[in-house]
């Protein structure tokens, strides 16, 4: 592994080692570019992942304080944890479920497709779909996605058999075990999935793609990566010409350090990416870095989500097997006759016994609550994953009343639901209930909105500098050597789980940065 001098101003500094940052680090280092990768969390491995759900949560989750407000459910159900993301090397690719559907062509043109939806701040993506598709293919090959590039699908689990029968009974046509970055057979120097469940506690076999044991060790092997763990970026610095010059961070001992940089790429997940840009305000950039448009932190999207559980009078044992290997694609269309714009997926899901009552069920206690838990082994489940609409005031701001361990204001998350969001959720619940009841469910239970694991659009790409933070390459409109390299850069959320698109955009951005660097244009 490289050791890059703090005063070396030739390196690219990447903040965050998840899907975006980890992939970008590999792509740049394999082209001979020196990279300092700052990661706030610790480094775990498949050997250290805990198989106790409570311990695993504490081991991987970003638990630093955040505050929140608005009409969405987490304000009531999960006041201290608005979002559930990881703080560890590999970022949320350690915790993710491996689901890799693509954003649909029409979802790149939401403003054009949906029209002027009152209350929203919709714009179209500055990238043509054919261009994104080219990088989707590369990303799917890189991540060994099932049902793509000739890869087989994952086999059907008990939970999926229930979902499949229910969906078919309801007349759905496009139902299968999903596009998953989980090895259905050995590949990419990683083993095949053994259907152990526990995808989100960190995959103990490495069958699920994570930058922790793919991109990052490969970047280290180039000799060009300097990975610094437990290093929390607190400020991006710039010079009088308006170019960024380096990153200030706290190291594992809490000491302030400073790393010079030729280019800075921010990939801290949509909450922390926005927070860092806002924390980096200066006399020259009084509203935060790259924020002349005022869009940094705004348009926050998290996907319409929620669990749908069904209990039966026969056992399912839904905890056995891959957590999310099941997909219904029929509702992933824009059909305003349903009463809303945009589409959604049904995705298979199960929760372990300790986690189900904490995040998976509606608030409750007493006999009715206990009767749901008593049916745990007879339970099947799905997750709604739908497009929420960006709104200017759904945003990340700095909360001056609450400070983190470094004395800096924490992120405040504000989310008010749009009527379209509510209509979509209601439709999905109605459909899901009908599906399960058609095959004899005793009872169907809906969860509230869960703390978001999909966080997007807080530093969005836009064709016009006034409409967003970055251009089509994630390069900020205001500062040519500052890049957005995570889901923050999404122009709109679409209805697909975001990781595949984050990786595709990181591959594309790496091409752009290395081209600009070798042409001495940056």
């Amino acid at each position: 592994m490289a050791q890059i001098d703090p005063s070396d101003d030739g390196a690219v500094v990447i903040i965050g080692s998840g899907a975006g940052g980890g992939t970008l680090a590999h792509e740049l280092t394999r082209r001979g570019i020196k990279v300092v990768l700052l990661e706030a969390g610790r480094r775990q491995s498949i050997a250290t992942f805990s198989q106790n759900p409570g311990e695993a949560f504490a081991q991987l989750t970003w638990l630093d304080p955040r505050t929140q407000s608005g009409t969405w459910d987490p304000v009531r159900t999960s006041p201290t944890l608005p979002v559930w993301i990881a703080k560890t090397v590999g970022g949320t690719t350690v915790h993710w479920t491996g689901a890799t559907p693509r954003i649909r062509p029409w979802e790149l043109r939401p403003r054009g497709t949906y029209g002027d939806v009152p209350g929203t701040s919709l714009i179209d993506w500055p990238i043509p779909y054919d261009e994104l598709k080219r990088y989707y293919r590369l990303a799917e090959a890189r991540m060994v996605v099932t049902r793509r590039n000739g890869n087989p699908g994952l086999p059907a689990s008990n939970n999926f058999k229930v979902m499949y029968a229910a969906a078919k009974k309801a007349g759905y046509k496009r139902v299968h075990t999903g596009y998953m970055a989980i090895n259905a057979r050995p590949g990419d120097e990683r083993g095949a999935c053994i259907q152990q469940g526990f995808c989100v506690q960190g995959c103990k076999t490495g069958a699920k793609w994570s930058t922790l044991y793919t991109e990052i060790p490969r970047a280290e092997a180039t000799g060009n990566l300097d990975l610094r763990t437990q290093c929390m970026a607190t400020r991006i610095e710039h010079n009088g010409a308006g170019k960024v010059t380096g990153v200030v961070y706290r190291d594992s001992a809490g000491r302030e350090q400073r790393q010079k940089a030729r280019v800075v790429c921010v990939a801290g997940n949509a909450i922390e990416t926005a927070r860092l840009l806002l924390l980096s305000e200066s006399a020259k950039f009084p509203h935060g870095l790259a924020n002349s448009s005022g869009h940094v932190g705004r348009n926050y999207c998290h996907h319409i989500n929620g669990f749908i559980w069904a209990t039966f009078d026969k056992p399912v044992r839904f905890w056995r097997g891959v957590v999310l290997a099941g997909l219904v694609e029929d509702e992933t269309v824009n059909d305003p006759k349903r009463g809303f714009v945009g589409g959604y997926h049904f995705e298979l899901i199960a929760l372990d016994l300790p986690t189900l009552p904490l995040v998976g069920l509606p608030y409750g206690w007493g006999r009715d609550f206990a009767s749901i838990m008593d049916d745990y082994r007879n339970m099947a489940g799905m997750f709604i994953n739908g497009e929420d609409l960006p709104q200017a005031n759904n945003r990340i701001t700095l909360d001056d009343k609450v400070k983190d361990a470094n004395g800096l204001p924490v992120a405040h998350v504000h989310v008010d639901e749009h009527p379209n969001d509510k209509a979509m959720r209601q439709h999905a619940r109605t459909q899901g209930k009908a599906m399960y009841e058609a095959i004899g469910a005793k009872r169907v239970i809906f969860s509230p909105t869960t703390p978001a694991t999909h966080n997007m659009c807080t530093a969005r790409m836009s064709e016009h500098p006034g409409d967003g933070v970055a251009n089509a390459h994630g390069q900020t409109h205001d500062i040519p050597n500052l890049f957005i390299s995570d889901g923050s850069a999404f122009t709109s959320p679409g209805s697909a789980n975001p990781t595949l698109t984050i990786v595709a955009l990181a591959l594309r951005q790496a091409d752009y940065i290395s081209r600009k660097m070798s042409a001495r244009e940056m």
Partner: protein, 181 residues
Amino acid sequence: MKTPIGRREFLHKTGVLTGVLALGSPLALVAPSRAWAVDLTSLTSEEGVALMAAARTIAPHDKLEDVAYALVIRALDTTAAKDPALRRQLQEGIASLGAAFAASSENARVEALRRIEPTPFFQNLRVQTLQVLYASPLAYAYFGYEGEAFSKGGYLLRGFNDLRWLPDVPLSDSGPVLAAS
């Protein structure tokens, strides 16, 4: 700094919860004795019994043994020993339920808890009960949950697809089972 006297010896016992495992209990097979006892270092026995009754009212599983609920109380007691504010919250909360709470009928206990439902005491007790109760090996056994399977080679050969009351999924919509290929 190491001291020759362990921390436990400074903590004086303030209460104890006791019980007897049911004959068919999975624990009874491995435990040296069917009798169990959980020491309290912050709450009294009476307070512990009241909290046990409250935890059972919040998550009533009739055939789940008392010792599973005693683990919830032990976790609360351990935290309260280090956190005077929590200890006060628990003591005042228990007092607000009245002396007859633990011995009263389930309906009466539900009514009593409903009256204090908005309080931080109840909300904390509810979350703690869910957090500890369903994470114990006793609960795993009771609900039939098999937990981690990595150490046993996963569920690939241990029933991940053994459901027989619905038709199998066509290969085109699923994929080959690796071990069978």
